[in-house]
Structures are given as structure tokens and as C-alpha cells.
């Protein structure tokens, strides 16, 4: 932590140069006036990645493969939001078995992503380790379970998508190839173990010491009357938003923020920042969880706490691991291959838009398609850029508590908090250098 004087502004700088358990590069600056933190600002200086421009002139099916490359952790979210946007525009009706396979591949992504975050990225914060590698020496079984959980998710994506990273089998109307029943049945043993690990994990995380933090949060997610949300439903909030998944941009908008290479998102009506992801889904859709996950959440006694304390998000993600493993097993059990892997379609000009639930929350895509069936304009709004304003608002509250802490303790606390949002900074187009400026 360094102190510096700039004119009338006293700048206190804390370098948090070791935030290795989030994705990407960025900085955090706290502004302090009269001893109070008045603003927290994420500066995102990871280079822009231009995917929205790369897809211009491409066909819809080319887009599906290109947007998968935005993220190595959540490629399915990008594929699903795009594929639904195009199908909504082109009027494509998909086979129910294809719909089930899409939920299955999304289960794979949640298992892989949440497994990585809960065991390898977030658990070390609670247990006081620098990394999963350091944690493995004392908590071998925890790390083994994390690796096996991640593999179980990856294997689903590989089986359905052709490969675990940047899968290539998703297309408008369905899949290029659908699996045989025996291919899916082969996934069962690992998924059954993963389901048991997930249930154990919920019990374990519920016993962790969760740092004190309370804030009323504004949550946004998809909500479906009969299912925990992946691809369908209504886009809702806990303060009255209720629109179609295609209508994100009627309620929210992106805007440029100084010092950041990522656009932020905000409510058009000026309402408070909102939070996406596992805590939001638990807050808005817990009644739709798989019965085993609902029971696991109930047993923790933390269903309300995950709504007010972001540090408890590890409980929400663990409950979703129970859900995703259970639903994956159910889908595999009931699976009957569709008669055709995809529904034929014909492009038509217009605007297609959709939002689906990435592990980190709502991922919105909007495409303008021209008369030749090619992309004329594209807008992609990833979850982390939507969460940024809520992260900054929470950091203003949490920042107050670190002002009197030592450099190490302040750094550790704020890193822990930021990891609680599971930010994917590369998706948002981030790494933390913390500066505290005192006026």
C-alpha cells in the first residue's frame, strides 16, 4: 500500500498484483472523501477483442462457431444465446429432444465452470491458501473432487459439442450430430459421482466462515415456470422487470465508462445496479431447482443469506452444481435421439435477439441479418460487464472496512470479494491494481 500526494488529492495505492484467480486484467480504484469510500471504479485494460465486428458479413452458422471462441469457460452460453436469437428471427421450431440436449450441454458448462470456481478459485480464499496448488497439499480430496467435477462437465460438452473447449457441433436448428443413447449413458458413472460430490460440497461450504457483508441486492435472471433457467423463460428481476429474453435492450443499455475497455450495462430507467449469476438465479428461481438441489439449499439454512452477502455465492454455485448434475442425469435417462439432428431453416432479414443463462448470468446477443442472410450488425452483452456496476457498488461498501487494514489484509479481503462474483474479465473485455484516492 503506497501513499502519494497529488495536488490536493492524497492517493493511497495498494497494488493487488496477484489476483490470479479471476480471468483477465484490470484495476480497482477507491475514492475516499472525509474518511468514507465514495466511489469504486474497475478499470478494465484488457485489450478489446472485436468479436462483434468479426461476425459482420458472416452467416448465422459461422457466427455460432465464432462466438464460441469468446470464452474457453463459457462457450456454450455464447452459442446458445446466438442460436436462440437466430431461431427466434427465422421462426425455427426445434425438436424436443434437441431442446433437452441443449439443456444437457448447458448443464455440462455449469458443472465445469462452477466446479472450477468453487473448488479451485474460491475455496482457497475461505481456507487461507494462495492457490489450489497450495491448498492441494492439505485438502487433497477437495481438489480431486474439483478436478473430477470439471472433467464430468467437460465430458458432456465434448460428447455433445465435439470437443470440450470451443465446441463445434451446435448449429441453428439443432446440432450437426446428436449422440447415441449409449454415448450419453457412458457419461452416467462420472456424473453420479459428481452429483454425490456436489451434495457433499453444499454441506461443506455451508459450514465455512463467510465474511460479514450485508446489502440489499437487485437481481436479474431468466425465470421459467417449470424449469431452472438455461435457455428459455422470461427475463425478470426482483423489482418488477418482466420481459421476453429478446427484449433485454428495452430495459437495459450499455454505456462507455472512462478507463475501461469493457462497456458497462445499466437500467434505462436509472434504477440501481443489478446482479446476475448464481445468487440471482437462486433468489429468483429457487422453486424451480431440481428437488435434490432444493433440498440441499434448504438444509444449509442459507437461502436468504445468499441474497444479501455476495461472499455466500459459493453456496449458490454449489447448489447449482447439485442441480446441474441431477438434471444432466435425468436428461440422459430420458434421452431418445431426435429423428433429425437439426431442423432445416431459411434465413430472413431482420433483427434477432435472445438472452440465456451463462454460469455467470445473463448473456445477451442481438443480430441484424441482411437480405442475403449475413450479419449486418451485432451486439453481445456478457454477464461480467453487466455485473460490474453491482461489483463497484458493493466495493464501496466493502472498501470502507479495509481502509484501516494492513496492505495484505485489505488486498486479501477485496480479492476474496471480487472472486465472489466469479468475474470473467476476458469475456467483458481485467486483473486488479487497487488505488485509494483520498480527497
Amino acid at each position: 500500500m503506497n501513499d502519494a500526494v497529488r495536488g490536493e488529492t492524497r492517493e493511497r495505492r495498494i497494488e493487488v498484483g496477484q489476483l490470479t484467480r479471476v480471468e483477465g486484467e484490470g484495476s480497482l480504484r477507491l475514492f475516499v472523501r472525509d474518511g468514507e469510500v465514495v466511489e469504486a471504479r474497475f478499470g478494465i485494460f484488457e485489450a478489446p477483442r472485436y468479436f462483434e465486428r468479426l461476425v459482420v458479413g458472416r452467416t448465422p452458422d459461422e457466427v455460432i462457431d465464432i462466438v464460441a471462441r469468446i470464452c474457453g469457460i463459457c462457450p456454450i452460453a455464447y452459442q446458445m444465446s446466438a442460436v436462440h436469437a437466430f431461431e427466434d428471427l427465422f421462426g425455427v421450431r426445434i425438436d424436443p429432444a434437441v431442446r433437452a440436449l441443449r439443456r444437457l450441454i448447458y448443464c455440462g458448462e455449469w458443472i465445469e465452470s462452477h466446479g472450477l470456481h468453487v473448488y479451485m478459485l474460491h475455496a482457497p480464499d475461505f481456507l487461507g491458501y494462495e492457490s489450489a496448488l497450495a491448498m492441494a497439499a492439505d485438502h487433497r480430496q477437495l481438489v480431486e473432487h474439483g478436478l473430477q467435477m470439471k472433467k464430468a462437465g467437460n465430458d458432456i460438452i465434448k460428447t455433445l459439442g465435439g470437443r470440450a473447449i470451443h465446441p463445434v457441433s451446435v448449429r441453428v436448428g439443432g446440432f450437426y450430430r446428436v449422440p447415441r443413447r449409449d454415448e450419453l449413458a457412458a457419461l452416467r458413472p462420472a456424473l453420479e459421482r459428481a452429483h454425490e460430490y456436489a451434495q457433499d460440497t453444499v454441506r461443506w461450504v455451508a459450514g465455512l466462515t463467510i465474511p460479514a457483508f450485508e446489502r440489499d441486492m437487485r437481481f436479474v435472471s431468466l425465470r421459467h415456470p417449470a424449469e431452472y433457467p438455461f435457455n428459455d423463460g422470461r427475463l425478470v428481476s426482483n423489482d418488477g422487470v418482466d420481459v421476453a429474453p429478446s427484449a433485454w435492450d428495452t430495459v437495459f443499455e450499455e454505456h462507455q465508462v472512462q478507463g475501461s475497455n469493457a462497456l458497462h450495462a445499466r437500467s434505462k430507467d436509472g434504477r440501481a445496479p443489478y446482479l446476475l449469476g448464481a445468487p440471482a438465479r437462486i433468489a429468483l428461481c429457487a422453486d424451480a431447482l431440481h428437488p435434490t438441489a432444493r433440498e440441499a439449499l434448504g438444509a444449509t439454512g442459507m437461502a436468504e443469506r445468499v441474497k444479501t452477502n455476495i461472499f455466500a455465492s459459493i453456496v449458490a454455485r454449489s447448489v447449482e452444481l447439485v442441480h446441474a448434475t441431477a438434471e444432466a442425469l435425468d436428461i440422459i435417462e430420458a434421452y431418445r435421439p431426435p429423428s433429425e439432428p437439426f431442423t432445416p431453416w431459411r434465413a430472413r432479414p431482420g433483427v434477432g435477439a435472445w438472452a440465456t443463462e451463462a454460469p455467470r448470468g445473463l448473456c445477451f446477443h442481438r443480430y441484424e441479418v441482411d437480405g442475403e442472410g449475413r450479419i449486418a450488425h451485432c451486439a453481445i452483452v456478457p454477464p461480467t460487464s453487466q455485473n460490474q456496476a453491482a461489483i463497484e457498488a458493493d466495493l464501496v461498501v466493502a472498501g470502507q472496512a479495509v481502509l484501516e487494514m494492513s496492505h495484505e489484509a485489505a488486498t486479501r479481503h477485496l480479492e476474496h470479494m471480487i472472486r465472489s462474483y466469479d468475474p470473467c474479465i476476458s469475456c467483458a473485455t481485467h486483473f486488479l491494481d487497487l488505488t485509494i484516492e483520498r480527497a
Binding site: L116, A136, E144
Partner: protein
Amino acid sequence: MSATGRSMKPRVTVFLCGEAHRGDDGVAFRAAPLLAPEAQAGYRAEAVGRLDAQHFLDLAPGAQCIVVDAVAGITPGEILVMPLDRLTMLADARSADRSVSRRRSSHGTSVEDAVALARMLRPDSARGTFVGVGTARFDLGADLSPPVAAALPALAKTLAQEIDRLALGEAG
């Protein structure tokens, strides 16, 4: 046959790392077809893209493997061969110097961390060799840069030699 022609049961796993459509990052995938067929040559190639510890833990105890990946920071086309043991030393050095890890993604484990984690969880895992190729560019597209493309025959020869050496049970 071994990678150079002798008949034997496949024993060595070759992990192909990288991204085939990101320029020189795809070099491992381009070298594999230059090897003798797997069934004859005593190896099994697995395209893993991004390696993690579980890939090593899925192998039989003591099984030998080769990790092939693109390497930044050495001369483009240069072929780097080192025992996986030495990579764990890099991981140790990196954890001792936090500034070195500053720009690494957490969403993908580095090869050295994957090796170190696998060894911690099972000491008889992650045995073998790392074969790296110096790279010039990682932009979009499947084309290799000229120096990396020119190094493919030498890379294939190195891999064949390492497969033979490890299959014969020489320490990796």
C-alpha cells in the same frame, strides 16, 4: 512398430495442446499427422487443447507421456525438450515469485501447474517429457508462421525419438 518402425503395444500418451485455429498455437496438431500411425507406433495421441492435472491423473500409475505445446519467448521454430520434472521447478519458482504469475489466466491451468498439481495428488503421475516449439504469432487462422512450419519435420522427428525412448522405459 515404434514411432520409427518397431512393433509394440501403445504405451506413451502424447498430449497435443493449443488451439488449431490460432496460428502457431496449433503446431502440436500439425505435427501429429507426420508421425507413424498410433496403433503401430506405440503411442496414443490425445488432443486436449488446454491441459489440466486430470489428464495426467487419468493415465495409469507411472505411465509415460509427452506434452506438446507452443512456447512463447524462445526463437520461433526452436524445439525445446525437457523432462516434465523440470516444469514442476518452474511452477515452484513461479509460486515463490508472485509477480511472475501476474498475467496468467486462472481459467486455464498452465502446463507447469497441471504437472505440479497432478504430482501433488499422485506422485507417480505426470511422468515424461515436455516438447515445446518456439512461436512467432497467435493470430486467427490455421496457418503457421514460416519458421514454425519449417520446424514441423524436426518436431515430428523429436516426438518419434521421445516416444521410442519413453516406450523403452527410459526415465522421462
